[in-house]
Subunit: 199 residues, 2 copies
DNA sequence: TGAAGAGTTCCTCAGCTGTAGAGTTCTTTC
DNA sequence: GAAAGAACTCTACAGCTGAGGAACTCTTCA
């Protein structure tokens, strides 16, 4: 078989390439994509290298080990916590709608979607990934100054878990009724509930 | 090293044992437990055999392959769909409470809990497991005759996904505010929302 | 110009994976 | 009492895994 790391290319010359190859970024893109599709365990270093059309040893060179690669891929360029926090600013009357809209939109956009999928797919078997998921999606829960009492904390967590369950059912398990619905319809239907939990 | 399949036992005699060894059940128990902890991919046939204190080849003998073992372990002795369906019978006024209570209780009981954990932990990477999860937890969605319109189907799915998200956050990600709360408090707080969705 | 170092290739290692076959002993059936 | 089959053991295979080392080439900077 002699797969030779890159599916199509044959016998590339050894040594450094001239100019600025975007190798590091290519690896990060491939890694995020594969982590999103297969989870931490399912995405092998070799498969990531193959998708990036790169020698597996380069991954080790740039990111020491797989764990660091994962952390870098999901954490490096994300503004998810900031966007969630930002949705809390504004009139309390429409907070439920803003929060639901922001939260669910993160699962639709091509930049943030693979990050969330990677976190979720990995979180079920890796406690480390579960914690990262929580820190990413639940950060506004710690940040929110209004949530000082146990009951308020719990209500916030209920709101977040509702939205999370919705996203999970829609994008991971792919529940037909939820896949069929469009974003705005879902936001509209969920917003009142979130509003109730949060206020 | 020479692990020799069973951690402590040394050189057991070959051939069939006399009497009725509960080997098959021991394997199923060990399998369900490991699938619940590590997911489908994370639970190796050898590890399951070791936990059951049994030769790995016996798994192949009883259950052809790993997939069949998984299906048998999660599907063989569960009454989850029935219990969920049963919660739909009774006064419509308290449907939300009954459904939430039944649903969340399934995650607490030692008989059903590992089944759900195994399904969830496996569903994120295996489409097959995701479908089984959906058939298990969403069966009442298909069954319910009242849900003929798209909107009603979606509302049912929203209710289910809310409860699922809550259970996931509580038992898999282990969100502190949700772990701290006790079952009845959660049911009480969630029931009105479920009731709204369902009616 | 020369040395340091970053980017790149190939090869190797020990360990684990699911599956498979062949042989031994007990139980059941005729 | 003999034959069939179920329960059980050990050993093997081919493939994949993450990690690591050695060597080569280009770039950068003194």
């Amino acid at each position: 078989m002699t797969d030779n790391h890159a599916s199509h290319g044959r016998k590339r010359p050894t040594g450094r390439r001239t100019g600025d190859s975007g190798t590091r970024d290519a690896i990060l893109d491939a890694a995020l994509g594969l982590f999103a599709e297969a989870g931490y365990d399912g995405a092998s270093v070799r498969a990531i290298a193959a998708r990036a059309d790169v020698d597996p040893a380069l991954i080790r060179h740039f990111f020491r080990d797989k764990d660091t690669l994962f952390a870098t891929a999901v954490a490096d360029r994300t503004t998810i916590p900031q966007r969630l926090a930002a949705s809390f600013e504004g009139s309390p009357d429409t907070l439920g709608h803003r929060f639901a809209d922001t939260y669910l939109r993160l699962w639709e956009e091509p930049e943030t979607r693979p990050i969330l999928l990677a976190l979720v797919r990995s979180s079920t078997t890796s406690a480390h990934a579960a914690q990262m998921l929580w820190e990413t999606l639940g950060s506004q829960l710690n940040a929110s100054e209004s949530a000082t009492h146990d009951d308020q904390m719990r209500r916030l967590a209920l709101a977040a878990s509702h939205l999370f369950g919705l996203a999970f059912a829609r994008h991971v398990v792919r529940l037909p009724p939820l896949v069929a619905a469009d974003h705005d319809t879902l936001v509209e239907q969920v917003a009142p509930v979130i509003q109730t939990y949060l206020t």
